[in-house]
């Protein structure tokens, strides 16, 4: 998947849809094609609903402490101050807790949408937001199939807030995300995506009566960095199941690829027509029709 993505940028650069490709992309040290994205496996069977991850996330990013309602009947959503939330759902197999945050897609719609590369898929896998580039257009929010980026609507200097998999704070230095580190139920696991999928398969195979046979995120939206396991079908946990299996940026590729062609063909065509019509012009007063 990561290879596809890189090819996509390469092709874009080669065709030069607009001008030169941002030097940054080319200047980035290329690790081997076997570089693998890191991700997190979240096992809702193991999650005990302690909300530790919410507290640790807030303190790791200097965000206000989460407010956990005594009765967890109402579903909370991540917003501009909470990058992750845990909700309890009454399901056919009893109460199940589910953590929610940005999925860190392999081919993120948000990054493809962003016209300044503020939303950015790092080589390591986390999708991060860079404030010095973002112009606050919110196109990433329009495009993200999971509605992950959140915007500070009541600020004169608004930021986009979403899970960054603790890239700056931990992962870059070789650490692991705060939520994973402090998970008391062993429900979170950080590692190379391929290995996480293997581990998830193993868990399903070992306890087929406990797990619902699907890894959410393996193929959704072209594959995501976060992978979910669940005892029940995922719609019971409020996860979006209408997500397409192809990546979202693929939806605009056709259009973007046609741009260079149009740019060459149309002016040539127009010039040709112009030449033809102006030659036929003998009496400019009564032509047309």
């Amino acid at each position: 998947m990561d290879i596809n993505r890189r090819n996509f940028f390469k092709v874009m650069g080669a065709t030069g849809a607009t001008l030169a490709l941002g030097s940054e992309l080319q200047a980035r040290p290329k690790k081997g094609a076997d570089t693998e994205f890191y991700g997190v496996l979240y096992d809702s069977v193991r999650c005990i609903g302690c909300y530790n991850c919410e507290y640790e996330c807030a303190s790791a990013h200097g965000l206000p402490e989460p407010v956990i309602p005594a009765e967890d009947t109402q579903v909370r959503k991540p917003d501009e101050t909470w990058r992750t939330v845990v909700n309890g759902y009454e399901t056919s197999k009893g109460k199940v807790y589910v953590k929610q945050q940005c999925m860190h897609c392999n081919e993120p719609a948000c990054a493809a949408a962003c016209l300044t590369q503020a939303m950015y898929k790092t080589e390591e896998g986390p999708v991060i937001w860079r404030g010095n580039k973002c112009m606050g257009c919110r196109y990433c929010m329009v495009s993200c199939p999971f509605d992950s980026p959140k915007f500070e609507y009541f600020s004169a200097n608004p930021k986009i807030n979403k899970c960054t998999m603790c890239f700056e704070e931990k992962v870059k230095q070789g650490g692991i995300p705060a939520c994973v580190e402090f998970c008391s139920g062993d429900a979170l696991m950080f590692g190379p995506r391929r290995e996480l999928i293997k581990e998830a398969r193993r868990r399903i195979a070992e306890q087929p009566d406990v797990y619902y046979d699907h890894i959410y995120g393996e193929h959704e939206a072209g594959g995501t960095g976060w992978l979910y396991l669940s005892p029940v079908p995922f719609e019971e946990l409020g996860l979006r199941t209408g997500i397409q299996r192809d990546s979202y940026p693929a939806l605009t590729k056709g259009f973007l690829y046609s741009v260079p062609t149009v740019f060459i063909a149309v002016p040539a065509l127009l010039l040709g027509i112009q030449q033809a019509t102006s030659k036929n012009q003998t009496n400019p007063e009564n032509e047309d029709e």
């Binding site: 940028f9 149009v262 029709e289």
Partner: protein, 406 residues
């Protein structure tokens, strides 16, 4: 003639700055109904814009985390730009097809288009949370080349320059700059060809913006053909705007238009109606193909389905038939009604894709706040003020000065 003198002195030999100062003064009556309505709204809107930059976008809009784009993008930018499509269609006919008939409306259409881009695309800045970073994608320290919005933004910018070049001879005539006029006129064809290409790409690009919001837009409005549909509808959206604007200008700026052009105008309107009929036919047919292709028959029975049928039948099929009938029967009134219906239809369509059909499934729907409406009207009225200012001064509707017509 010495160039510096030509540029610093006007035709009567007065210093240029005094001429410009004089031109800045309002002409005509101050207390017209339009002024009385627009001035308070513009003042209020300006105050709201200041307020928004202090307290954030959420302080005056009803936008939410689920619906990040509202009226300002959906109407000002997406719809406004469609209406500005007249400029590329008319310049195509005049400069590429060499149909001289439309020559008398080229300038006013290009001016209209240019101002529309300046203001409606400019309204985009109001909607940006961090507008100071808008230079990033322009100066090139962060090119998001895989972004449709990047493409659209660049094309807006380049197209505005192209339109300015297309219009610049009128400015030169106003300033009496003969040499500049000659040079600028020589650039028209290149600007036109470049401009048409850019227009085709960003008119469709505005539709392509929504391609990634696949599950968020109501299936009756979402399809992979949005870009093509947006492009084709921009043709009749733009031309309907030209017809509409023309019928108003003919009255408001009556004294500027000479007898010959006035008679010519009816003829122009009828042939524009004909082009509209054709474009709308193609568009309607394509919508039908998309509907069949999408297999969403069941949805037609729902409330959104009825809304969709209203758009397609009431605001595409009906005005198309009216256009058709009007040029056969040569009824001017019918053309105008058809143009207005078409414009309403385009507004409906753009809003249905970008606002009304966007997250149609949510419990709480986005409805623009009154402040959003006032700011939108402010943008619109300011544009009309500038339009009027230019028309009253530069040879747009009226004939070029004798020296330029040679």
């Amino acid at each position: 003639m010495n160039k510096t003198i030509a540029l610093t002195r006007d035709n009567d030999g007065r210093p240029m700055w005094r001429f410009l100062l004089q031109e800045l003064k309002p002409k005509g009556k101050l207390f017209t109904p339009f002024n009385i309505i627009s001035v308070p709204i513009i003042l209020l809107g300006t105050a709201l814009i200041v307020y928004r930059f202090i307290y954030g976008i959420g302080s005056i809009t009803n936008l939410s985390q689920e619906v990040p784009w509202g009226l300002w993008i959906g109407f000002d930018v997406v719809t406004g730009v469609a209406f500005a499509g007249g400029a590329y269609v008319i310049t195509f006919m005049v400069y590429v097809l060499n149909v001289k008939k439309y020559h008398s409306i080229v300038r006013v259409t290009v001016l209209n288009g240019f101002l529309a881009y300046l203001f409606y695309a400019g309204a985009l800045l109001l909607d940006l949370g961090r507008p100071w970073n808008v230079i990033n994608p322009i100066i090139g320290n962060s090119f998001g080349v895989s972004s449709v919005l990047f493409l659209v933004a660049w094309h807006f910018l380049l197209y505005m320059i192209a339109q300015l070049i297309e219009f610049s001879p009128a400015i030169a005539e106003w300033l009496g700059a003969r040499r500049a006029r000659k040079i600028l006129s020589g650039m028209t064809l290149a600007a036109v060809i470049f401009g048409i290409t850019l227009s085709m790409l960003h008119q469709s690009g505005l539709g392509a913006l929504f391609l990634m919001a696949k599950e968020k837009i109501h299936p009756l409005w979402y399809s992979e053909f949005i870009p093509v549909l947006f492009l084709i509808s921009s043709i009749f959206a733009g031309l309907s705007m030209v017809i509409f604007e023309g019928s108003i200008s003919q009255r408001v700026f009556f004294d500027q238009i000479n007898e010959h052009h006035r008679r010519e105008h009816n003829d122009i309107v009828h042939s524009l109606a004909r082009i509209c009929t054709g474009a709308m036919f193609v568009y309607f047919f394509l919508q039908l193909v998309v509907l069949i292709h999408g297999k969403h028959w069941d949805l037609l029975g729902t409330r959104m389905g009825a809304w969709y049928l209203l758009e397609m039948i009431g605001f595409v099929l009906l005005p198309m038939l009216l256009f058709y009938y009007s040029y056969r029967s040569r009824k001017l009134l019918l053309v105008r009604i058809a143009a207005i219906l078409t414009m309403l239809g385009v507004i409906l369509n753009r809003l249905n894709v970008s606002v009304i059909g966007f997250r149609w499934d949510m419990d709480i729907h986005y409805v623009p706040s009154w402040q959003e409406l006032v700011v939108t009207l402010t943008v619109l009225f300011t544009e009309i003020w500038i339009f009027r200012w230019v028309i009253n001064r530069m040879p747009v509707l009226r004939e070029s000065p004798a020296w330029a017509r040679k």
